[in-house]
Symmetry: C2
Subunit: 348 residues, 2 copies
Amino acid sequence: MDQNSNTLHPHRRYNPLTGQWLLLSPHRTQRPWQGRTEDATISQPPGYDPTCYLCPGNTRMGGKKNEEYASTFVFDNDFKALTQCTQPFQEDEDGLFRSESTDGTCRVICFSRNHNLTLAQMEEKDLLAVIDIWKAQMIELSKKYRWVQIFENKGEIMGCSNPHPHGQIWASDYIPEEPAKEDHYQKVYLQQHGKNLLVEYLAREKDKRERIVAENDQWLCVVPYWATWPFEVLLAPLHPTRRLQDLDDAQRQGLAAIMKELLVKYDNLFSTSFPYSMGWHGAPANNGNNDHWQLHAHYYPPLLRSADIKKFMVGYEMLGCPQRDILPETAAEMLRNQSTTHYSMRRR
Amino acid sequence: MDQNSNTLHPHRRYNPLTGQWLLLSPHRTQRPWQGRTEDATISQPPGYDPTCYLCPGNTRMGGKKNEEYASTFVFDNDFKALTQCTQPFQEDEDGLFRSESTDGTCRVICFSRNHNLTLAQMEEKDLLAVIDIWKAQMIELSKKYRWVQIFENKGEIMGCSNPHPHGQIWASDYIPEEPAKEDHYQKVYLQQHGKNLLVEYLAREKDKRERIVAENDQWLCVVPYWATWPFEVLLAPLHPTRRLQDLDDAQRQGLAAIMKELLVKYDNLFSTSFPYSMGWHGAPANNGNNDHWQLHAHYYPPLLRSADIKKFMVGYEMLGCPQRDILPETAAEMLRNQSTTHYSMRRR
Ligand SMILES: O=P(O)(O)O[C@H]1O[C@H](CO)[C@@H](O)[C@H](O)[C@H]1O
Ligand SMILES: O=P(O)(O)O[C@H]1O[C@H](CO)[C@@H](O)[C@H](O)[C@H]1O
């Protein structure tokens, strides 16, 4: 770790992917916490739950019946946030009341038929099945939509309403804010530096070895220099790769291996089923030349100090800018040092 | 309300203050909720708590003793996220590892000596004392810092760790992201339209009467057309006003009255002490010509359907763009129709 004593003082860091600045206050980690604590007890659900709308063969809210699926299963969200094209809107009035119609769809992906597994507990071959369904969905939906957002909300604290392992896809005819910023900043970076921003960044991180959480021949997982959430990570292929659809066989295998390693380390950190929201960003469809893009996943976990104390992104963060206490370098070291054996499997 | 049937379909709306788009899915309000619920029971704390580090005369964590204050009280935060100037940082490397030193300070403002009041329960004359301390702090801190962020995190769900009514001030030598965006978009708007963005917007809202929550001669409180949080409001003076420091006497009085009205309506909506983060945005210090600026407060409350069901800003919101279910027009109507008598005062 770059033992610059300055890093213990408050400072700001710049996120080159989004152009946003972040406030770091590492000296604040010793602050006592008297506020709200989360319920960290985990009830172990059964392997099959007859009332779960994601378990194989069960009937969902809308009345449709799930397939008797064996590994993964995709279906249309019964309460879609995005639906088929609507009429164009009229309001504008000098840019003060601007709106736009949208066209899109929402799907749910079950990661396993087993109601009580998490990705962290699944085997690499089962993670490969998840990667393959992500790829297949990207291929199918990218034909119709400009942006296909694959994501997973894990844990009640992240608004997940069912423990059955699952993720979501929201596809739209517009490119949402976050990837639009990344598209812009990656493009400008390539123009100004003649290099792909993330490919270059990952190479430097591999060299510096200060923020690495896990690595293999194909992938690198770091707590980025500009991480906002305490244990946020960036997971990306080392070699130029635009999209999930472009992953070759070695990259698929490498991804299953590094996902397993990351998720086990996450769970081990606070000996809990580690909550997070994660998702994939890659080059949009019909976007012209995409040389500036590098595929990557963001993991945004809310926990700060323990299984029951989270980071609140509230007043200053909502009205000013994001703020973090723990240094990214410290967070990376804590994660890196975790065992690769899941805590639930450890012999006493 | 503009009964355009399109508004019941998913659509996007544009926030002219920040340049950001938002996804609206009003048809999703009927979605059943099986996920996490918040603990909505409120334990009534005593008027004075000997263990509270904000009550008058008590000793704080750092060992300092609070004044025996009668109404409001300001002190330096014992765990400042921003402190005095540090050495400049060196790293950069082609813009991939950028950081900056910061200079700043953090303060805490107690709103009342009474441990168990909230602003919603205080009288207008007590709210005036809070407004005056905000003003005085802005005047003092703006001499030294470019940006002075006044905010309040209310409720455990918003990371507030002490029920004693209080807010915070974080002052810095940089302008944080959120006000920086507003500075930019307000400036461009004035250049392009020859009008002050918010003054114009407020006048149109006063005319349309679709999103008004409360109003008086001096102030308007609306659920903005582009609101992100379910019951988010924008509170601003109707007449051109750059900063809190510039409020005249009529505006001070009007602000106390409209704050009281808004906060009582908030509490009445779900018969609970309504949680939120709020804060003030006005023209920065040393910013040249500020004709494009209009003072305003944002209120960001997390509740969605009831005292125990909140909106989760998670997967799609973190990786794509903010999404809301309930229409701003509906939210405004619900708030507008609330009684101006606090639910705790109602006769049975
Ligand atoms: O300073 P406090 O009240 O302890 O802390 C609270 O407000 C801060 C500013 O919004 C946040 O950064 C913290 O996450 C939150 O717990
Ligand atoms: O669609 P779900 O899982 O019911 O809903 C969850 O994820 C959505 C997408 O991130 C969020 O908008 C919701 O607030 C959250 O509860």
